[in-house]
């Protein structure tokens, strides 16, 4: 559906560099990364709002690299909705439909939960309703590819969660391919078939959300999903020695590195690393403890009380990353 071949666009040191990406029909790919990592630039390149300095962009069989936005057959859902203030919800849909059909537009509005609100103008709608109009407009255009740029970041947490699940299932039902930019790892996990992690303008990992979460290939890919502990360690022949314990690790064979593990990667076990519980947090339906591991502090998912002594063992092989220069 979408193919990026070594696409680059530079704004000095910022931009997108040598991006390669392939989106299958009906697939939703989330682009995840910190602010300034090049996510929105990538989206704007695909949309045709920017022209790449190098590389090619294909939509289906067509090379659209030099095509203007209106020729690409895309739709875009913006963070700030970008609705037309003088048009009603229904008129938004009718304006972008190739063959304007009132009944179909009304049905689409009803499917995104806006039944009866078709005559309302943007200023008469709530934030969530505006985003639903933006989504209905995007679907009404029958796009070859839907682009979403942090579409829920302006919404409150409850609405955000509700809308992102609804939208993902709607897109899947319609079979629409989508490139979804977000900096929210939960959103990427919830909506995407695959996740592209961006760092400093480059796609550093492209894989399923669970694999990127469990087996990040770079430190920034690991950081992109949060819930991460980093301990400075010395690795010798693929082994890390921590407070009398020796753990095999992957990623780095020898030298100074950062041992990376998620909150749930360590579990209580009788032969484990001794740790003292310093504080307890009530997370989202889970109990998290800040513990002193001797070699540093970490947050782990654990049922324990402050002051308690516990022993922790890794669930699998932990990963060590090089210390960033």
């Amino acid at each position: 559906m979408l193919r990026l071949e070594n696409v680059s666009k530079s704004f000095g040191k910022a931009g997108v560099f040598d991006a390669c990406l392939r989106l299958e029909p009906g697939e939703i790919v989330a682009v995840l990364g910190a602010s300034g990592s090049g996510k929105t630039t990538l989206l704007n390149l695909v949309a045709g709002l920017l022209t790449p300095d190098a590389g090619r962009i294909f939509l289906g069989p067509d090379d659209v690299t030099q095509q203007p936005p209106e020729k690409r057959g895309l739709a875009y859902v913006f963070q700030d909705h970008a609705l037309w203030p003088h048009l009603s919800a229904l008129d938004h849909l009718l304006l972008v439909m190739k063959n304007p059909h009132r009944a179909h537009a009304l049905e689409l509005l009803s499917r995104v939960g806006l039944a009866g609100l078709d005559t309302r103008k943007p200023h008469q709608l709530s934030g969530g309703q505006k985003q639903r109009v933006a989504l209905a407009r995007a679907l009404a255009a029958r796009p070859r590819l839907l682009l979403l740029d942090e579409p829920y970041s302006a919404l409150d947490p409850v609405l955000r969660e509700e809308l992102r699940l609804e939208v993902a299932s709607l897109l899947r039902a319609e079979g629409v391919s989508a490139l979804h930019v977000t900096h929210d790892p939960d959103e990427a996990l919830a909506v995407a078939d695959r996740v592209a992690v961006m760092e400093a303008g480059r796609i550093v990992q492209l894989d399923t959300p669970t694999r990127v979460y469990a087996q990040p290939q770079t430190l920034s890919a690991a950081r992109a999903f949060g819930r991460l502990n980093l301990l400075p360690v010395q690795v010798q022949d693929g082994l890390v020695h921590l407070n009398g314990q020796t753990w095999p690790v992957e990623g780095l064979q020898n030298g100074a590195g950062l041992l990376a593990f998620r909150y749930e990667d360590l579990q209580p076990g009788p032969q484990g690393l001794p740790a003292k519980v310093l504080a307890v947090y009530g997370g989202r339906g889970e109990r998290l403890c800040r513990v002193d591991l001797g070699a540093g502090e970490a947050v782990v998912k654990l049922h324990a009380e402050p002051g308690e002594q516990v022993w922790l063992t890794p669930l699998g092989r932990l990963r060590v990353f090089e210390v960033p220069g």
């Binding site: 709002l49 936005p69 895309l74 875009y76 970008a82 203030p85 003088h86 304006l95 972008v96 255009a141």
Partner: protein, 491 residues
């Protein structure tokens, strides 16, 4: 040819074309620099008057802005300040002339000019400084109060951040006052107090001068030299208001300050105009002079010409705005080029056009005045368009194109409907300014193409004070219509 290069050449040629009247003026003025030593003392008067006037406006307008800011006065109170600014300066001067005479004071000369300027232009200082106070000073003031920074230390903490806004406001005021023609024409000329614009006017129409145009051009050159440095200072400060209430107990002081300003700057001259226009000067009987004024051939001619010129100029500028809106980058470029004629004194444009077009059939026709209006007010109309584009319309049109709309369709369905309020703001800004224009028309009119402003000036010079007052009142009423126009960040 490289398209970038040809585009660059196009803009260079256009800029040169737009600047041509000023270049011709400079060239001709340089040929008559011998006159300059004789008028240097007058240039000094002009300079000092503009500087003193700017400081007065800054003090009054800045003081009111400070009061309003500290009292968190509702923006609705601005309606008390704006009328003074919306009334044409020469009409305000006329009002002060009659009002001060009513209380037995002689308003002619430096004092009267400064008074009329302060009344008219202090609201500009207010409009320029209040957003700067709200955006820059509100958080700093709260921080100062919370941390107990008082007295001189507070001034040291607050003044430097405000300095750029003060300098910019001063630059804008200085430019405006230096080029103002109407007030010194009404309150200065009869007392033989000249500023450079009125001196250029007087020399241009002087039967005793061997080379009136050359002398006027030399004076124009001097005026330009005094104005140009201020162009660098005149960028408009802006900012978002702070939502924090600061000093509510000053509310009444601020309200009284606003009301006093409105009384002094609007009501007082209005009373002067009404007294003259509505009551017989000798008998004191109620005898409105409107009918007599409208019977004067010059006034009828002026009214017809002004209305036609204003409609034509506004219509053409509206068309220009509509044509340029879909090319925002070109619109911005063109506005920057034409800003020169909007910001620099109108006297320079008028003299430049006379020099440039004197050998052509355009000279001494209404068309030269129309051209002058177009050049002078185009920047204002384009600024209105630009305000709309910058308010997000340009992006919303791009969104339409992203959804597959063709360029023309996107502008027709999205861009132009959203631009409507900005177009209206542009029209209602330019139309009354053209109707009540004086600086350009006083220098460019020819027999048969007089404007309403010229008619007032002629009536005044011919001793028809009541008729001048009647026309002044009509112009005042017309200008106040501007109060109902959404300003949309244009002025």
């Amino acid at each position: 040819m490289n398209p970038h290069r040809s585009l660059g050449a196009f803009w260079l040629l256009l800029s040169l074309g737009a600047a041509l009247p000023l270049l011709v003026l400079a060239w001709r003025g340089l040929g008559d620099v011998a006159i300059l030593p004789k008028v240097l003392d007058l240039a000094g008067v002009s300079l000092l008057l503009a500087l003193a006037g700017s400081l007065l406006c800054l003090a009054v307008g800045g003081g009111l802005a400070w009061l309003a800011f500290r009292a968190r006065l509702h923006p609705g109170w601005d309606a008390l300040l704006l009328p003074a600014y919306l009334v044409p300066p020469f009409v305000g001067a006329l009002g002060f002339l009659y009002a001060l005479q009513l209380v037995g004071l002689q308003p002619y000369g430096v004092g009267g000019i400064l008074l009329a300027w302060t009344a008219h232009y202090a609201p500009i200082a207010y409009l320029l400084l209040r957003p700067a106070l709200e955006s820059k000073l509100a958080p700093l003031l709260i921080a100062s109060e919370v941390h107990g920074v008082t007295g001189w230390r507070r001034v040291r903490a607050l003044l430097p951040p405000l300095f750029p806004a003060l300098v910019a406001a001063f630059g804008a005021l200085y430019l405006t006052l230096l080029g103002n023609f109407g007030v010194p024409a009404v309150l200065g000329l009869p007392a033989q107090v000249y500023t450079l614009p009125t001196l250029a006017y007087a020399r241009l129409f002087s039967p005793a001068s061997p080379d009136p145009l050359g002398e006027a051009a030399a004076i124009g050159l001097l005026l330009g030299l005094l104005a140009v440095p201020a162009l660098l200072l005149s960028s408009q400060p802006s900012g978002e208001p702070s939502p924090r209430p600061l000093r509510p107990r000053l509310v009444w002081a601020a309200r009284i300050g606003f009301a006093l300003f409105a009384l002094a700057a609007v009501a007082f001259p209005l009373v002067g105009l009404m007294r003259r226009a509505l009551f017989n000067t000798f008998t004191g009987a109620f005898q409105p002079a409107f009918a007599t004024a409208l019977e004067l051939p010059l006034v009828r001619q002026g009214l017809t010409n002004s209305v036609l010129q204003a409609l034509l100029a506004t219509g053409m500028l509206l068309l220009l705005g509509l044509l340029m809106a879909p090319q925002p980058a070109a619109l911005r470029r063109l506005r920057q080029v034409l800003d020169l004629h909007y910001l620099l004194p109108g006297t320079l444009l008028a003299l430049g056009l006379i020099l440039l077009l004197a050998p052509t059939p355009l000279y001494a026709t209404p068309w030269i005045l129309l051209l002058a209006y177009l050049l002078n007010f185009a920047a204002l109309m384009l600024r209105a368009m630009e305000a709309g584009l910058e308010a997000g319309i340009e992006r919303l049109v791009e969104v339409g194109r992203l959804f597959g709309l063709r360029r023309r369709q996107a502008w027709w369905k999205i861009g132009f409907p959203l631009m409507r309020p900005y177009l209206a703001a542009g029209v209602f800004l330019v139309l009354p300014l053209c109707l009540a224009e004086l600086t350009l028309s006083a220098m460019l009119y020819a027999p048969g193409s007089e404007t309403l402003g010229v008619a007032v000036l002629s009536a005044l010079n011919g001793g028809l004070f009541r008729e001048a007052a009647a026309i002044g009142l009509m112009l005042m009423a017309l200008s106040l219509l501007l109060l109902w126009v959404p300003r949309r960040g244009v002025v």
